[in-house]
């Protein structure tokens, strides 16, 4: 039984031509890279997999639960508890401190708010002394590690990361992937990184091409 599974997904925005996504499934502990150029629908696919977007056609199963059959609130709750997302733009909440962002994720997912665990996770990503800083006071690299810690805070079975390295230089891109792989490995979660960044492609054994040409081949 696959942890995350997509079958016959097809989606179009408004009147545009739809994108057809390949059938795909993955198990816990696997590390995947979704590779595709800009506009190939990587972010759309991640949003569909996390239940943020309901596709026109096809089904997504998370731990054997069909997302489109769940009520919206149940889908949100499932996502909060089972799926951690690292956004391309990070989307830290500027009104809250670093540790506040982590506790926010606990609270919104309906998990118990555990500041000690949040602090512990921050020290794991090397931000122990930044827990009461606001995101605007951090460097981009530090903010990215906060975003990763926030994605991991509820010990999700699945971690989705959207373009985690595209705005980083070579050295920092590799370091960011190091941190992500290390932390996800500690959690034993399924990792899916969607990117067009050639520099990190070799770090993943399991690859899914999303460019139309690649899906046909």
């Amino acid at each position: 039984m696959a942890l995350l599974e997509a079958r016959g997904i097809r989606h179009s925005f408004g009147g545009e031509a739809g994108i057809t996504f390949p059938d795909w499934q993955a198990n816990g502990g696997e590390h995947w890279i979704f590779f595709g150029s800009s506009g190939s629908g990587k972010t759309t696919f991640l949003n569909i997999l996390s239940g943020l977007l309901t596709p026109n056609e096809g089904i997504v199963r998370v731990a054997n639960q069909n997302l489109s059959l769940l009520k919206p609130a149940a889908r949100d709750s499932l996502r909060g508890k089972q799926i951690g997302i690292v956004f391309q733009q990070l989307h830290l909440v500027g009104a809250l401190t670093v540790v506040g962002n982590l506790m926010l994720a606990q609270s919104l997912a309906g998990c118990p708010v555990d500041s000690a665990f949040a602090e512990n996770l921050l020290s794991r990503v090397g931000l122990m002394d930044k827990s009461s800083a606001f995101p605007s006071q951090l460097s981009y690299g530090q903010m990215q590690r906060v975003a990763l810690a926030r994605a991991l805070i509820n010990n999700p079975k699945i971690v989705l990361a959207d373009e985690p390295t595209s705005s980083l230089d070579d050295e920092n891109a590799q370091r960011a992937i190091d941190v992500i792989l290390e932390q996800v490995h500690l959690n034993g979660s399924l990792l899916v990184v969607a990117t067009h960044d050639e520099r990190i492609r070799h770090r993943f054994q399991k690859r899914l091409g999303l460019d139309p040409v690649e899906t046909k081949s």
């Binding site: 977007l53 919206p72 709750s77 956004f87």
Partner: protein
Amino acid sequence: MNAFTIAFAYMRLRPLHMTLNVILLALGIAAISLLMLFAHQLENRMMRNAAGIDMVVGAKGSPIQLILSSLYHLDVPTGNIPLAEAESLAADPRVKSVMPLALGDSFRGFRIVGTSHSYVAHYGGDILAGTLWDVTMEVTLGAVAARDLGLVVGDQFIPNHGLANAASNHSDHRYRIVGVLKPTGTVVDRLILTSVESVWVVHGYNPMNAMQIENRADEHNTVEDHEGSEEKETTYEITALLVKFRSPIALVSLPRFINARTSMQAALPGYEISRLMKLVGFGVDAFRAFAGVLVVSAGLGIFTTLYNALSERRYDIAVFRALGASQGRVLWQFLLEGALLSLVGAVLGLVIGHSIAELTGIWLWREHQLNFSGMIWLAGEFWLLGLAFTIGLVAGLLPAIQAYRLDVSGVLAKG
């Protein structure tokens, strides 16, 4: 980390904006609560002082002036009425009881009232020290008068002629204080009480002659007869008569009879007070409308604050949803923020309103010895809180609905 801490975190982001809108709402609420406190206590005071008195009879003139001077001791009297006429009215079978009032003198701003012991009983006055007045030139002080004048039982004073401070003295007559009353919360607290005879003595009449006239009035029992004998005798006068009816039916016939057929005037407290309230009421209504505009504009202010915050927070809302928050959760977040802002404004407004009322009360007490407090809570203020809360909810509703409907993946995809 719950909806409240999140709400406060966002308020901290825009302190000036939030503070100004909260203050705006607070001022509107303060104005309305102040108005409610004034109107309530004014009406309460007027009603309490008028309670149980069906009719006031005095000299012809303004009925409101008659009520103000003889029930509230605020205005100057309309004049005096002949004792004999008052006596004949007191003997009317429709009248249950009367309390005479003889006004005209004061001591350091406190009015000296010649009356009967039943006047004290009517307002629930109890003796704190000494006794009620008995013989001529004995007085009993109301609680406030005694405290402010600093006089105690055994002290003596020379009254001023007239009701104002600067009037001339009756230098040859001294009042002697024989008692002090406990506070009653009524107009009695601010009076110096004595017998009607004492007032006559101070004004140079011999009360013994008055007794004869009283007897004569009893014999003849009609106004016309008394007026025939007027030229031979000194005309003894009182200022007003507070009348209680034997039955409400008297209300129909007696005031009309007095106004049409005697030299006196009858005024009905209930009627005159509501007339007075109507005169004052226009100002109250205008002020209330003004305060209402203030509250509504503050509601709009909160609305724009939340609405602007919404467009700034589109990404945050999308993140909330991505982190597992349901649509209901983000709806609740915005409604809560609207309600919180309005509640903070309302509570602040009530604090401001009550503080101003209390400060005004202290000033009124010092300058005019009027009792007014900001330290009371009116049932109507719960409605005021409810109103503010509703305004906050409504202001938060549109942003909340938009947050509810937010296209999460669309917002996230734009980055």
